[in-house]
C-alpha cells in the first residue's frame, strides 16, 4: 500500500467514523424525543380520562345539590301554606267568638273545652274536687256559673265523680280557651287555643297538609 493510499484510507475512515457518530446521535436523539412524545400522549390520555371522571363527579354534585334545593323549595312552599292556614285559623278565632263555628256557639265551644280539661283532671284527683276555670277577660261573657254547674252535673253524672267547677277571678292573656286547675293548684290542664295548637301541633300539621295538598297526592 502506497503513502497516497494510506492517506486516502485515513481520511475515509475518519469520515466514516464521524458519520457514524453523528448518525448514532441523530438516531438516539430522534428515538428519545419519540419515546417522550409517546409517553406524553399516553399520560395525556390518562390525564383526560381522570379529569373527565372529576368533571362527571362535579356535574353530579351540582345536580344533587340542585335536586336538594328543588326539594327545599317544595318544602318551603308547603311550610308557607301551612303557616298561612294556621295564621288564618288564629285570625278566624275572633270571628268564631261572634258567629260560632259549624253551628256551635262560642259558649258551647268553651263548655266543651272546660269539660275536656275537667275530664283530663278527674282520673288523678280526689273524689271531691273543687276546680277553678280561668279564662281571658275577652271571654268572660261566654262563661257563667250556671253553665259551669251544668257541666259539673254532666261530668258527675257520667263519671261518678264529685266535681265542682267555679269561675276564677284570675284572668289570662290568651286568644281564647280555658285553663282548669285544682283550687290547691296541684293539677292544671291548659286548654287555651295557643296551648292546644302547640300540643296538637304534629297532628294539626298532618291534617292541614292532607287537606291543602289533597288533589295533588291523589
Amino acid at each position: 500500500m502506497g503513502a497516497k493510499e494510506i492517506v486516502g484510507k485515513i481520511k475515509d475512515e475518519a469520515n466514516v467514523e464521524c458519520e457514524k457518530i453523528m448518525s448514532e446521535a441523530e438516531e438516539n436523539a430522534k428515538k428519545k424525543v419519540e419515546e417522550v412524545r409517546e409517553e406524553i400522549e399516553v399520560q395525556k390520555k390518562r390525564f383526560i380520562e381522570a379529569e373527565e371522571r372529576k368533571g362527571v363527579e362535579e356535574k353530579e354534585r351540582i345536580v344533587r345539590a340542585a335536586r336538594l334545593n328543588a326539594r327545599k323549595l317544595g318544602w318551603a312552599a308547603e311550610e308557607e301554606m301551612i303557616a298561612k292556614a294556621l295564621e288564618e285559623a288564629m285570625n278566624r278565632l275572633k270571628e268564631v267568638k261572634t258567629a260560632g263555628f259549624k253551628g256551635n256557639s262560642y259558649s258551647r265551644i268553651m263548655a266543651g273545652l272546660i269539660k275536656d280539661a275537667t275530664m283530663s283532671i278527674i282520673p288523678g284527683s280526689s273524689a271531691s274536687d273543687e276546680l277553678e276555670v280561668i279564662i281571658s277577660e275577652e271571654d268572660a261573657s261566654f262563661v257563667n256559673p250556671k253553665m259551669l254547674k251544668k257541666i259539673s252535673d254532666e261530668i258527675n253524672r257520667d263519671s261518678g265523680a264529685n266535681v265542682r267547677l267555679s269561675l276564677s277571678g284570675e284572668r289570662i292573656k290568651s286568644a281564647g280557651g280555658v285553663i282548669v286547675k285544682g283550687k290547691e293548684g296541684k293539677v292544671e290542664v291548659n286548654n287555651t287555643f295557643e296551648q292546644r295548637m302547640a300540643r296538637l301541633s304534629a297532628s294539626l300539621r298532618e291534617d292541614i297538609v292532607k287537606t291543602l295538598f289533597i288533589s295533588l297526592s291523589l
Binding site: A3, E13, E17, A25, A29, A66, K102, L212, L216
Partner: protein
C-alpha cells in the same frame, strides 16, 4: 520521499482526529438539543394539562349548571302549582285546624 509521506500521513491522521472530534461535538449538540426538546415537550405537556383541566371542568360545570337551571325551573313551577292548589283548599284546611283547636273533633 519517505519522510514527506510520513509527514502527510500524520497530517491526515491529525485531520481525521479533528474531524472525529468535531463529529463528537456535533453529536453532543444533537443530544443536547434533543434533551432540550424533551424538556420543552414535557413543559408544554404540563401547560396543556392545566389548560385541559380547566376546559374539561368548565364543560361539565356548564352541563351541570344547565341541568340545575332546568331542575330549579321545574321546581319553581311545581311549587307554584302546589301553592295554587293549596290556596284553593285553604278554607277547608283552616276549618280542619279550627275543629281541632276548638276541640270539636
Amino acid at each position: 520521499m519517505a519522510v514527506e509521506a510520513l509527514k502527510l500521513i500524520r497530517e491526515r491522521e491529525e485531520e481525521g482526529r479533528k474531524l472525529i472530534e468535531k463529529g463528537k461535538e456535533s453529536a453532543a449538540k444533537i443530544l443536547k438539543d434533543a434533551a432540550d426538546e424533551v424538556t420543552r415537550l414535557k413543559e408544554q405537556a404540563r401547560e396543556d394539562e392545566k389548560s385541559l383541566a380547566v376546559q374539561i371542568l368548565d364543560k361539565y360545570a356548564k352541563g351541570g349548571a344547565e341541568v340545575e337551571e332546568e331542575i330549579m325551573k321545574n321546581a319553581e313551577t311545581e311549587a307554584e302549582k302546589r301553592k295554587a292548589n293549596a290556596e284553593s283548599n285553604l278554607d277547608s284546611a283552616v276549618n280542619v285546624a279550627l275543629e281541632k283547636i276548638l276541640g270539636l273533633v
